[in-house]
């Protein structure tokens, strides 16, 4: 008798992988728990995020989409085999056979085989340049074909079809959607909603053809294919993608004689067990009560259930799923909750239509008007969280339910959900099964920002639809725990950074003393002083070493250099766009040599000189200024560099002049102080050599302008920047960047990079787009004017500093001696100087480098 329980998992998609995560969560040491698990994936790569597949077209790579933590499958008792396809299950022998002939015994078999795209049986569907939309390989093939195509058609106007249409449009193709039903998203959306959705989608330049049954695909006259419809009309296109629904992959189960659901799929019970109790089925291949679930959340639910049952628990059961969905299709909010079509007997509905802004909202209520049964939201789905929770938790409707979907007027608060009314068991994030109770526990454990909640509970990290509600619950919980949502800057100011910024601007406050006197208490500290200094600089842009401002500056700003571990400073002259003349380089070389500085080219494409003592700084800068350089603000929470590739001027692939724009941008925003440092990148084509998508602001040249990306980050937690506008002219790009930067400066917390700011921004990317691109707050002109003020008041800080004797006097190691700090000692390494370590200093085998300041 084998002492191990052998588990074979067929399928390494999202649900198959989730099953493994659950299993490992229960048994961190599988081998020690007596488990021997083999996972078989037929694709060449382990599990990836199919829900966000379309982001592949906006720059995500296969690695970005991966769901597998490094090393996850490298553990004892677990083996992952890729490119492994099962051809046969022998239930009597308890074995599976792979297509390469391998025979694997199992004690328990988990089928997570997923589904395949349904391709209607249309003559010509096998032609070249006809695709389905399911795997990364499919997407790679589509991308390749898209390069030589002018137009593309998606067959299927459902959820996936519209996602796919977005991908085609992003590839720059003239995009059509052909739908068999009389409306788009027929499953989730009612007729009126379908109409609004259609006009929204058409507004975006996608052609929609409904009630079209394709009968054949033949050679086209003006394009590769001609699609012929049942009424003999036709449409010509270069590529076709079938996305007309999915079919469960139940063929292995059928061959093995397992029970199959009425509409296909492997029939399972409440424990996710098939008719053979040693075989479980989870995800899109399974059918529960003759119902199949094409969403990931119910699949995860089945995986959890199967995992619990394997462990002998029978309390966890699968009880169907709430098929409510909220998603964004080409920037259009679409949400459907519960009984969206109003099929319940006696139900009644309220509807709100705004044909100007193309918004449609409907709620379906029970016959007695006491319960919410379902809803449809198109164009704006802000109420989704509230409506979904009300439906799922059978909560009582407010007195005038129509106000739930009517726009707020006269500043009146909409009747929110009152999150207190939600039970602790209410699942807020259905993708990751996070309950209200779990959010409460996370808050109690000290996770008090939406960013912290996300990383701690995983709530809101899959589809993101629940983020507004999770935020509400988090805040309510904080209040309940007496944590008075405290965003006070420090003990001296009972205000957030955002509020202080506002006070400084509105009350025209120009000094810290005035701010402290009016709005704070005590003397201030190393938190509020630099924050106030930064705010004052963002608003007024006065010289930061003015007598009443100098004492507020963090050490780096205080000496206009980056303090190093030994108390010496680094010197970084600005090289806009990374451009520098030979004479400039020679001057830097000569200066570095003269002062015996260590030189290094930075990641921001400029030269950093290390090892300068405080008293050397003004002399070094005097010489740099004479050579035509100015401060690089490497020490400031301000614009650092605008990295650029060489661009169309030299590069044979370049589409536009990236260096020219980078220089212009760097000169525009230099000296702009912000809550944290800001980095830009400008690439001259989509090859993206400047890594602009890893920057706070990134620009990438397209054939028809510039694509603008924001809120990217390298650093500790890399984050891809997100596209907020496409094909902008240079002038428009600069206006949008003006707005973006000033909006960030106004609203971010201290030391919050744009990426964290964005993660915590209620309303997310959409809201940011609304404010920056669509000017929804009517702030555009004001934000631009504020940036212009800073630009107009720019001065080279180092030039001001070296020319002011009072300021210059401060740059010395000792107030009573011209000597240098003898604790700053260097040793030689790779032909340059580096700081001696503490041990080296003790051993005295160092070569102190004496100052040659003159």
């Amino acid at each position: 008798m084998n002492q191990h329980t052998r588990i074979v998992v067929v399928g390494n998609g999202m649900v198959g992988h989730y099953f493994m995560q659950e299993l490992v969560k229960r048994h961190p040491d599988l081998a020690a728990a007596g488990l021997q698990v083999t996972v078989l994936g037929e694709e060449p790569r382990p599990a990836y995020d199919r829900v966000h597949l379309s982001s592949f077209f906006s720059g995500s790579t296969a690695e970005d989409l991966s769901l597998v933590e490094p090393g996850f499958y490298d553990r004892a008792g677990l083996e992952l085999r890729l490119n492994a396809r099962v051809s046969h299950i022998d239930r009597h022998q308890h074995t599976v056979t792979l297509t390469d002939g391998t025979l694997l015994p199992y004690d328990k078999l988990i089928l997570a085989t997923g589904s395949v795209p349904f391709v209607p049986s249309v003559a010509g569907r096998d032609r070249d340049n006809c695709f389905v939309y399911r795997t990364i390989e499919d997407l790679e093939a589509m991308t390749a074909a898209g390069k030589t195509a002018n137009s593309g058609v998606v067959v299927g106007g459902g959820l996936l079809g519209l996602e796919c249409a977005k991908a085609l449009r992003d590839m720059g193709l003239d995009t059509h959607v052909v739908e068999f039903a009389p409306r788009l998203m027929a499953v989730q959306v009612d007729e009126a909603g379908g109409r609004v959705l259609r006009s929204k989608i058409e507004e975006l330049g996608v052609h929609v053809h409904t009630s079209r049954n394709t009968t054949a695909i033949v050679d086209g006259a003006t394009a590769r294919h001609r699609m012929v419809f049942f009424d003999e009309t036709w449409l010509e296109t270069d590529m076709i993608v079938f996305s007309a629904g999915i079919r469960p992959r139940d063929e292995l189960a059928r061959d093995a004689g397992l029970a199959i659901g009425a509409r296909g799929g492997i029939a399972i019970d409440d424990f996710s067990r098939s008719s053979d109790h040693d075989i479980y089925a989870i995800g899109e291949c399974a059918s529960w009560n003759d119902e199949m679930f094409g969403l990931v959340a119910p699949g995860y639910d089945m995986a959890r259930t199967a995992c619990a049952h394997l462990a002998g628990e029978t309390a966890t059961t699968f009880q169907g799923a709430d098929m409510s969905t909220k998603l964004k299709l080409m920037g259009v909010d679409v949400a459907s909750v519960g009984d969206a079509h109003g099929k319940t007997h006696g139900c009644r509905s309220y509807q709100y239509t705004d044909e100007v802004r193309n918004i449609y909202k409907k709620i379906v209520v029970s016959e007695d008007g006491k319960k919410l049964l379902g809803a449809v939201l198109i164009g704006n789905a802000d109420e989704y969280g509230t409506l979904q929770q009300m439906t799922v938790n059978d909560m009582a409707l407010p007195e005038n339910p129509e106000f739930l979907i009517l726009p707020a007027s006269d500043g009146k608060e909409k009747p929110g959900l009152g999150v207190d009314a939600l039970p602790d068991t209410a699942v807020l994030c259905s993708c990751n099964n996070v309950s209200k109770g779990a959010i409460g526990e996370a808050v109690a454990a000290g996770h008090c920002s939406i960013g912290a909640i996300k990383s701690c509970t995983k709530a809101g990290t899959a589809c993101g639809g629940c983020v507004p509600l999770v935020t509400q619950v988090m805040k309510a919980q904080m209040v309940k725990l007496g944590m008075t949502v405290n965003n006070h800057l420090c003990e001296h100011f009972p205000y957030s950074r955002q509020e202080l910024y506002h006070l400084v601007r509105v009350e025209q406050i120009r000094t810290f003393d005035e701010l402290l006197h009016k709005h704070g208490k005590g003397l201030g500290c190393d938190i509020c002083k630099p924050t106030a200094a930064s705010i004052l600089a963002s608003v007024w842009n006065d010289f930061i070493l003015k007598k009443d401002l100098a004492s507020l500056q963090d050490s780096n700003d205080y000496f206009l250099g980056n303090i190093q571990k030994d108390g010496s400073y680094s010197v970084v002259p600005r090289m806009p766009g990374g451009e520098v003349t030979p004479d400039g380089l020679i001057a830097i070389g000569q200066i570095a040599k003269k002062y015996k500085l260590y030189t290094k080219v930075t990641g921001g494409a400029r030269v950093d000189m290390f090892g300068a003592r405080v008293e050397q700084l003004p002399n070094i800068w005097e010489e740099l200024i004479a050579a035509g350089f100015e401060s690089g603000h490497a020490y400031g929470k301000s614009l650092r560099t605008v990295k650029s590739c060489v661009g169309s001027t030299w590069c044979r692939y370049g589409v536009d002049d990236s260096v020219g724009l980078a220089v212009q941008l760097e000169n525009r925003y230099k000296g702009l102080r912000a809550p944290h440092k800001i980095k830009f990148g400008v690439s001259g084509c989509t090859r993206e050599c400047a890594e602009a998508q890893g920057k706070d602001v990134g620009l990438i040249a397209t054939e028809s302008g510039w694509n603008l990306y924001v809120c990217g980050n390298g650093g500790m937690k890399p984050r891809h920047a997100e596209l907020i506008a496409s094909d902008l002219s240079k002038e428009d790009a600069i206006r949008m960047i003006d707005r973006f930067l000033m909006f960030y400066i106004r609203t971010a917390d201290r030391l919050q990079r744009t990426s964290t700011w964005r993660d915590n921004l209620e309303g997310g990317l959409d809201y940011l787009k609304q404010v920056v691109i669509n000017d929804s707050l009517g702030l555009g002109a004001e934000l631009e004017a504020q940036i212009q003020h800073v630009v107009d008041n720019y001065q080279d800080e180092w030039k001001t500093a070296v020319n002011d004797p009072e300021v210059r006097k401060r740059f010395r190691s000792f107030v009573n001696s011209v000597a240098g700090d003898n604790n700053i000692v260097f040793v030689k390494e790779r032909d340059q100087m580096r700081p001696a370590t503490v041990e080296e200093k003790k051993q005295a085998k160092v070569i102190p480098i004496l100052a040659t300041t003159e």
Binding site: G522, L523, C528, S555, K809, F814, S817, A819, N823
Partner: protein
């Protein structure tokens, strides 16, 4: 640069040192005006680096310039302020706070910087080392 030269001269000629065998010698190090309000300077006294701070009320404090958490002579460049009413300076390297009148580290009370007596005499700052 005249101030700098003056200060240097005064150190070399050392005219203003009053010997006190019990607790060190008093040294005149600079003029009060050499220290901007709410900032610090470092004085080199008998080979020792002394950080001297002037607060908004012209109260002076002198502590050792050496930050043991970073092994660097940087305390004089820290930001001064108060925490819970106690006057402190924050090290510019790793931001540990030290009480100005005791030298005790707020985050790690076992660490204590040497403190020095400091006085203002007729516009001149004196420290005892």
């Amino acid at each position: 640069m005249s101030q700098l030269q003056q200060a240097a001269v005064s150190e070399h000629t050392a005219p203003a040192a009053i010997s006190n065998p019990d607790s060190g010698t008093w040294h005149a190090v600079c003029a009060l005006d050499d220290i901007w309000p709410n900032t610090g300077v470092c004085a080199l006294v008998d080979g020792r680096q002394v950080a001297i701070f002037r607060l908004h009320d012209d109260q002076l404090y002198a502590i050792d310039n050496y930050d043991p958490h970073s092994d660097a002579n940087v305390m004089s460049r820290g930001i001064v302020g108060d925490l819970g009413g106690e006057r402190v300076v924050a090290s510019p390297i790793y931001k540990h706070h030290y009480q100005l009148h005791t030298g005790i580290c707020v985050e790690n009370a076992e660490v204590r910087l040497p403190i020095y007596a400091v006085e203002l005499r007729g516009g001149t700052v004196w420290v005892q080392v």
